[in-house]
């Protein structure tokens, strides 16, 4: 796949920008020893809320959920920034975001205790970031700017 200079520039920047966000989300959770996804899960609404509340109610499961979040976010972010296995990371990231959306869908009539920065109806920033990740997936750039350019791997 070949891009114009402008296409390549903005696509690489999009990949790295999303990677940055993921890596910082993961790192800040790892650096805060008291962080847990429990309150976020308890706050879940919509048709999947039972499932997320169930996750929150079991300490052993919660421990796994917390670890998956911390490591998942960090590794996806790192991979997108580095440009290494970034297509896999894009799909994994989109999937993770979709789970966040399912736990807190921006549907009319649902109110959350969690603060929200903006006004959303059905489409919120999580969905937009998820769609952007799918763009990253179908327009790969790691072979242009990323470790995949110098390492003998598929991007």
């Amino acid at each position: 796949m070949t891009y114009t200079k402008g296409q390549a520039f903005w696509l690489v920047l999009l990949r790295i920008g999303i990677g940055w966000h993921f890596l910082y989300e993961g790192a800040s959770k790892m650096l805060d020893p008291s962080w847990t996804s429990k309150p976020y899960l308890i706050d879940s609404q919509g048709f999947m809320s039972c499932f997320f509340e169930w996750l929150a109610a079991h300490d052993d499961i919660l421990l796994i959920v917390d670890m998956l979040n911390e490591w998942g976010l960090s590794l996806i972010g790192l991979s997108l920034i580095l440009g290494l296995f970034s297509r896999l990371a894009a799909v994994a990231g989109a999937l993770l975001l979709f789970l966040y959306y399912l736990s807190h869908p921006a549907w009319p009539g649902l109110d959350y205790v969690y603060p929200q920065d903006g006004n959303f109806l059905i489409i919120d920033k999580i969905i937009v970031e998820m769609l952007a990740l799918m763009v990253v997936y179908v327009f790969p750039t790691s072979h242009i700017a990323g470790l995949a350019r110098i390492l003998p791997v598929k991007n």
Binding site: S28, Y40, W54, V113, P115, P140, H143, P152
Partner: protein, 522 residues
């Protein structure tokens, strides 16, 4: 892409390839630098705000003092008696079955059921039960016999003896200690008799119904050297320990006003309890219920909703203000106030009750230069919590604890000017279960802390405060070395006298004073 990939492995990498391949380096560098800066910024904030402040927390769940099994008699097996039995480790088999059924469908009930099943064994047994209502007495017997926490059909233990009168119960040789969970007008008569027989006492709040009996019970408990605990389980609440520790280190500055409140808004909260469908003169010992109270013809309403009448109750002051007062006394050791004024009325529940459903009281402590304000209504759920107001900061206290710096503070002025402290944002937040006080609390925690969505924990484990309070009492009994529980008879005396001052001020519509030298309300 595949072709290009092959090309790359064939050709030697150019300088351009390497530069573009390592595009991540400057970004990762910048991100790493940002993360470290951020972390340092938070650490710095924590250090500046918490300089020289050490918060004391109870060290986990206290262990059980070894010794013989303590044999308990319970006088009064109504809703509070049932709750205390549960905190001791005894629940009625029907209740266990019901919890099990609910637990299968609902996670909150599952936690409730598991907490009860996992609750520590206190090495105590209930050997005697007394209640003037046959249905309650029978339920008490069945509850006490359920030593293995089983449902119906499960293995039960020895059935305790039901006594018709409290005098027979406290005289029983197989009763070492007595729990008093009767209506208010019976607290002291039962406790006096128990103390006379040298039995240890756990008495529900408030300590007393009248002023004179308050002196009598204090004297007898001290004379007999028994272990006495008043049922203010707030003494075990983690956030209260943290508050005490923070205030003793002058985090709030000079405290001038403390505001405590009661807000309820449902009939049960206003003491309009259900009347048992099987109850009647045939199974209630009405004469014994009346006891020291003025005579009144048999009334199911008065029997089940006794808190609505001064004849048996101590009203808002004795029933609900005492919770707030004891918490403040635990944190600040205020003691009995110098004076009290009160006002209020029956404004919502025009159901024939004699106790007010709105009550406001102000207690002055000139020696401490502060006022304790109480404000209550039984017809609004606007939960105002407790606020302790100091010149430098104010503290809001519930299960969680939040300290906000006052914008006009002298102590924190420098840090406010430097921008280290932002007034209006909490500088200290304590969330139960976290076992640390954090100056920089995440938005998440603040939101949840303020909405009570987090549970009360002790050392990371959810525990019933009443269970801990009973344990402290039983531990003191077993230790047998003159140890006194946290809500001992002196604390109870202060609690009762303060509440009585408020009630007298309300009844007589005047300012009431405490004569400290003669220990008299004047």
């Amino acid at each position: 892409m595949g072709k290009q990939h092959k090309d790359q492995s064939k050709h030697k990498l150019s300088r351009r390839d390497v530069l573009k391949g390592l595009v991540a380096v400057p970004f990762l560098g910048a991100l790493g630098w940002g993360v470290i800066r951020q972390k340092f910024h938070y650490q710095n904030l924590n250090r500046n705000l918490l300089e020289n402040v050490n918060v004391h927390f109870p060290a986990g769940i206290p262990g059980l003092v070894p010794g013989k099994k303590i044999r308990i008699g319970i006088v009064g097996f109504g809703s509070r008696g049932n709750y205390l039995a549960k905190a001791l480790g005894f629940a009625h088999p029907d209740a266990v079955d019901q919890w099990k059924e609910l637990a299968a469908k609902d996670d909150a009930w599952k936690a409730h059921y598991n907490n009860f099943m996992d609750q520590d064994d206190l090495n105590a047994e209930i050997t005697a039960v007394c209640d003037v209502f046959d249905v309650h007495a029978q339920r008490g017997i069945e509850t006490a016999a359920n030593i293995h926490r089983n449902g119906r059909g499960g293995n039960m233990g020895k059935v305790p003896v039901r006594y018709r009168t409290y005098k027979e119960l406290v005289a029983a040789p197989d009763v070492d200690a007595v729990i008093v969970a009767t209506p208010d007008h019976w607290h002291v008569p039962v406790a006096l008799e128990a103390a006379r027989k040298g039995k240890h006492i756990y008495c529900e709040k408030p300590l007393s119904w009248t002023v004179p009996e308050t002196y009598a019970i204090r004297e007898r408990v001290k004379d007999k050297g028994i272990v006495f605990q008043l049922g203010h389980q707030n003494r075990q609440t983690d956030s209260h320990h943290a508050a005490r520790s923070l205030i003793s280190q002058n985090v709030l500055g000079k405290i001038s006003l403390i505001e405590v409140c009661t807000n309820r808004n449902d009939p049960k909260g206003a003491w309009v309890y259900d009347i048992h469908p099987e109850a009647g003169p045939h199974n209630i010992d009405w004469e014994q219920f009346i006891g020291p109270a003025p005579w009144h013809a048999f009334s199911l309403e008065r029997f089940f909703r006794w808190r609505c009448w001064w004849d048996y109750s101590t009203g808002l002051s004795g029933d609900l203000f005492t919770h707030e007062y004891d918490a403040v006394n635990q944190i600040l050791e205020l003691g009995i106030p110098h004076s009290a004024i009160a006002s209020g009325g029956i404004y919502y529940y025009k159901d024939g009750r004699t106790v007010p459903d709105v009550l406001n009281m102000a207690f002055e402590y000139p020696e401490r230069d502060l006022t304790l304000l109480y404000s209550a209504t039984l017809s609004s759920d606007n939960d105002r919590g407790k606020t302790i107001m100091g010149h430098d900061a104010y503290m809001k206290l519930g299960n969680t604890l939040v300290v906000d710096v006052d914008p006009r503070s002298t102590r924190y002025r420098e840090n406010i000017e430097k921008g280290v402290i932002e007034p209006g944002k909490p500088v200290l937040t304590y969330v139960p279960g976290q076992d640390q006080v954090d100056a920089v609390t995440s938005a998440t925690e603040q939101y949840f802390a303020g909405r009570g969505l987090l549970y009360t924990y002790r050392g990371g484990k959810q525990v019933d405060a009443t269970h801990l309070h009973l344990k402290e009492w039983l531990n003191c009994i077993r230790r047998d070395d003159g140890c006194r529980p946290s809500c001992n008879i002196d604390m109870a005396f202060e609690e009762a006298m303060t509440a009585h001052m408020g009630t007298i001020a309300y009844h007589e519509n005047r300012k009431v004073f405490w004569d400290k030298d003669n220990e008299r309300i004047v």
